[in-house]
């Protein structure tokens, strides 16, 4: 099988690292990974995405992805770092696909300038109306409780793992963190990873 995952958000939110952690988990299982992401000018507060395609090498060549880009209507999971950006990517979700989304809007400077901020709740409502399997993560609460503004990526990965949307266990994700992230940040990242599961208890 091939698992198609889209991560989306705003430049600087940590989508690339989250994408790298998922890739690491998949590689450890002997899966083939392809990914594509936004790098460069768009980093500066622009919309960013990662396309991730994980495929079992046991399947026939013709069923494996030819390239890293995901076609509309075939993504199994959207990991949304920002409500508006998640709606933007929704056409990529397959029928019955899962969405894990942060509730916290990032206002573009242009909106602040014009005094016309958009409302996250409208985006979340749209997602509720169109996604059968939706998990909304209260990011403001999560970031406050974990005590860092920079771990949204791990909080979302944890939520996806808890909801069985990712196909990787907490332990596999912790291994990936150990491999890819400086030891100084391990405890903080483990805490962020487990926040969602603990918040349900």
């Amino acid at each position: 099988m091939t698992k198609n995952i889209i991560l989306c958000g705003v430049g600087g939110q940590g989508t690339v690292l989250a994408s790298r952690l998922i890739s690491t988990c998949a590689m450890k299982k002997g899966w083939q990974v392809m990914s594509a992401e936004t790098i460069g000018m768009a980093q500066r507060g622009g919309s960013v995405f990662s396309h991730l395609r994980l495929s079992d090498p046991a399947q026939p060549e013709a069923d494996r992805p030819a390239g890293p880009m995901i076609a509309p209507g075939i993504a199994d999971l959207i990991l949304g770092f920002e409500p508006g950006e998640t709606v933007r990517m929704l056409p990529y979700l397959k029928q019955g696909g899962q969405v894990v989304v942060s509730s916290r809007a990032v206002q573009p400077v242009t909106a602040t300038l014009a005094g016309s901020s958009y409302r996250a709740v409208d985006m979340i409502d749209f997602l509720k109306a169109h996604v059968s399997s939706l998990v909304v993560v209260d990011a403001d609460r999560a970031l406050a409780e974990v005590g860092s503004a920079k771990v949204l990526n791990l909080i979302l990965l944890g939520a996806a793992a808890e909801e069985n949307a990712l196909g990787f266990s907490y332990e596999e994700l912790r291994d990936a963190i150990r491999e890819k992230i400086h030891p100084r940040f391990h405890e903080l990242n483990f805490k962020a990873l487990s926040w969602y599961g603990q918040s349900l208890q």
Partner: protein, 623 residues
């Protein structure tokens, strides 16, 4: 061999190392930058690597290395190829001894470039072969092929990935270090009949190049990465399809190259077309694999070409149909079947192929999206460029001015509310434009803004020109001590090299003084009052004068702290938001609010608050 998860650019770098590359140089430019950085990280002790001051110098260094029999790689983006074109065109005629690969990354879209030029077309113009990889694995293998090819035919060779190849990641098979080629250069051997270009030599070599390239159209037809894919997918899949071939259908095929090959293949698989349309994969768009293409065209009535930027494959196939009197219709950009500009995407290619093959697209529910926030890129919170632009804007209020911008993060100074970029053309061009306006409009204060890396890359001759030709202009050097937009590469002003040495930094101030400027001031733009006074004073001096706004990029320094809004003191005038456009400034419940996750404590907003409502966190008063 072992598996590694690599970015396309990293794969190219590891391929170059596996091919025994001896020297790598280049100039940063999206999407090419990571190639050289990866070589620097993984190179062996015998491989020299540098960021050169610009692409022309880099091309000359790589050319010189190849003269000495070394394997050399020079990296740049497509815009950089323009800068390097002078030595490139001559190198094409002179030829090389060691392999010389020019890594030139194209940017369909464009996503971060001024033009959508196609380096495949440039290769044909320069008469050098070009390899066009479709993904990371192929790029890894192709650069090794390219070195062999360059040496065998004694010509520079292009490797031309596009953004999605350069920045896509894949798990690929790479060689173990024991499998690497060790290339020992012979050294430079004097032979002025070979290495000194004179008109007579050019005439002789021009003929040889044309003959060689004609020959390569046959040779490259046997290159395994140029190929025709036919009917290979499994039969079970086809049997599920209703047989619609009752009426004789035109025989149709697809042709694609580079990353677009993956779009075409993926689309064919998704559409489950039957009979499977043959797919011509063009890995060397110049010289074009003529024999292979002819074999492909032979049994087809119609061909759709899937490519970005120029219709290179479409023109070649059309030419072949004329040359061999074939009735095959060639469709693509020129025929109106594919978009003339911009980046392709899977959905659009899939639809174009479905229409062409007259097969149904997989049913998809059309989703009406609500209106979504627009997010143009902006200067980061705390970016010193914002302070520099704002200081000039405040100082020159009410005066007739022109603000000539340049290429880099500071191009973003054009956005509202700063609106401080009147022109932007190409690297270094702002200085020329400012001089021109001075010669035509004597009452205009002419400003040229240039970054520190851009200053070294392409501004210095223009400063000399301005001084010599008696222009009046103010040069603003935005010195943030790095090449920021492309991801923080060192440059001559930083005093660090890619070999890891700490060296004497070249001083921008001393360079300007050496050229003859008598008024050169260095100011911290985050000291707003001083910055404004300096601009007011400097702009009114005669001749060419310069201000160096020196403050490091926020991405390479630790934030100095944060500011916060005293909600009781804030009168909700929105001046901070209206004038600065900092992404860390928000407005809620009638008051300004600082996004603590973004604020770096630069203090520009607190210096400009009319009621001193913005103060450093945990302190009182400015600074």
């Amino acid at each position: 061999m072992h598996q590694e998860f690599l970015m396309g650019n990293e794969a190219i770098a590891m391929g170059a190392i596996a091919a025994g590359v001896n020297l790598v140089c280049g100039y940063p430019g999206t999407p090419s930058t990571e190639v050289l950085e990866t070589v620097a990280k993984h190179r062996g002790p015998d491989c020299y690597v540098e960021w050169s001051v610009n692409e022309k110098v880099a091309m000359e260094i790589a050319g010189g290395a190849a003269y000495a029999g070394a394997r050399a790689l020079v990296t740049m983006k497509q815009m950089g190829l323009n800068v390097a074109s002078d030595p490139l065109m001559c190198l094409s005629y002179i030829g090389v001894k060691g392999g010389l690969v020019v890594l030139v990354a194209d940017d369909p879209g464009p996503i971060s470039s001024q033009t959508e030029q196609d380096s495949r077309t440039f290769a044909a113009f320069a008469k050098v072969p070009v390899f066009d990889p479709s993904g990371a694995q192929e790029a890894y293998e192709m650069i090794q092929d390219a070195f062999e090819f360059s040496e065998k035919y004694q010509t520079p060779v292009f490797l031309r990935p596009t953004t999605r190849v350069s920045h896509g990641y894949a798990s690929i098979s790479v060689k173990d270090p024991e499998e690497y080629t060790i290339h020992t250069p012979e050294g430079f051997v004097k032979d002025s009949s070979r290495w000194v270009i004179f008109p007579r030599l050019s005439t002789i070599n021009h003929k040889k190049i044309e003959e060689r390239n004609a020959q390569l159209r046959h040779v490259l037809s046997d290159y395994d990465k140029n190929c025709i894919l036919r009917d290979q997918p499994d039969a079970a899949r086809s049997q599920n399809q209703p047989d619609e071939a009752s009426a004789p259908q035109p025989r149709r095929g697809l042709a694609a190259g580079g990353f677009n090959f993956t779009y075409a293949l993926e689309s064919l698989r998704a559409l489950k077309s039957r009979p499977e349309a043959p797919l011509l994969k063009v890995a060397t768009p110049f010289p074009f694999p003529e024999d292979l293409a002819l074999q492909f065209l032979e049994d087809l009535d119609e061909v759709l070409c899937i490519e970005e930027l120029d219709p290179v494959i479409e023109r070649e196939l059309t030419y072949l149909c004329g040359k061999y009197h074939l009735k095959t219709r060639i469709l693509g950009k020129l025929s109106g079947h594919m978009p003339l500009s911009g980046e392709n995407n899977l959905a659009a290619v899939q639809k174009a192929i479905a229409d062409f093959l007259e097969v149904a697209l997989p049913a998809a529910e059309a989703l009406e999206l609500p209106s979504l926030p627009v997010r143009p890129p902006v200067l980061c919170a705390g970016c010193p460029h914002r302070a520099s632009f704002y200081a000039v804007k405040q100082a020159m209020k009410g005066e007739k001015t022109i603000y000539c911008g340049d290429i880099g993060c500071y191009t973003l100074g054009n956005a509202m509310p700063l609106d401080m970029v009147d022109t932007c053309l190409c690297m270094g061009a702002g200085l020329g434009i400012a001089q021109a306006i001075h010669h035509l409009e004597k009452d205009t204060f002419c400003f040229a803004f240039v970054g520190d890396s851009t200053f070294f890359a392409s501004a210095i001759p223009s400063v000399v020109n301005a001084v010599y030709n008696q222009a009046e202009m103010t040069l603003i050097v935005l010195d943030n001590s790095t090449t920021a937009m492309t991801g923080h590469q060192p440059h001559p002003g930083t005093g660090r090299t890619m070999m890891g040495e700490v060296v004497a930094a070249v001083s921008i101030e001393q360079v300007l003084k050496g050229i003859g400027l008598t008024c050169v001031k260095t100011v911290d733009p985050l000291d707003h009052a001083l910055a404004v006074e300096t601009v007011k004073d400097t702009a009114r001096q005669p001749g060419v004068k310069a201000i160096i706004f020196k403050s490091p990029c926020i991405a390479i320094t630790r934030p100095s702290g944060r500011v916060m809004v005293d909600a009781a003191a804030c009168i909700g005038c929105r001046k901070c938001i209206r004038e600065l456009g900092c992404p860390a400034l928000l407005f809620e419940n009638g008051k300004a609010l600082i996004d603590t996750a973004q604020c770096t404590g630069c203090g520009l907003c607190s210096q400009n608050c009319p009621v001193q409502a913005i103060q450093p966190e945990g302190g009182s008063g400015n600074d």
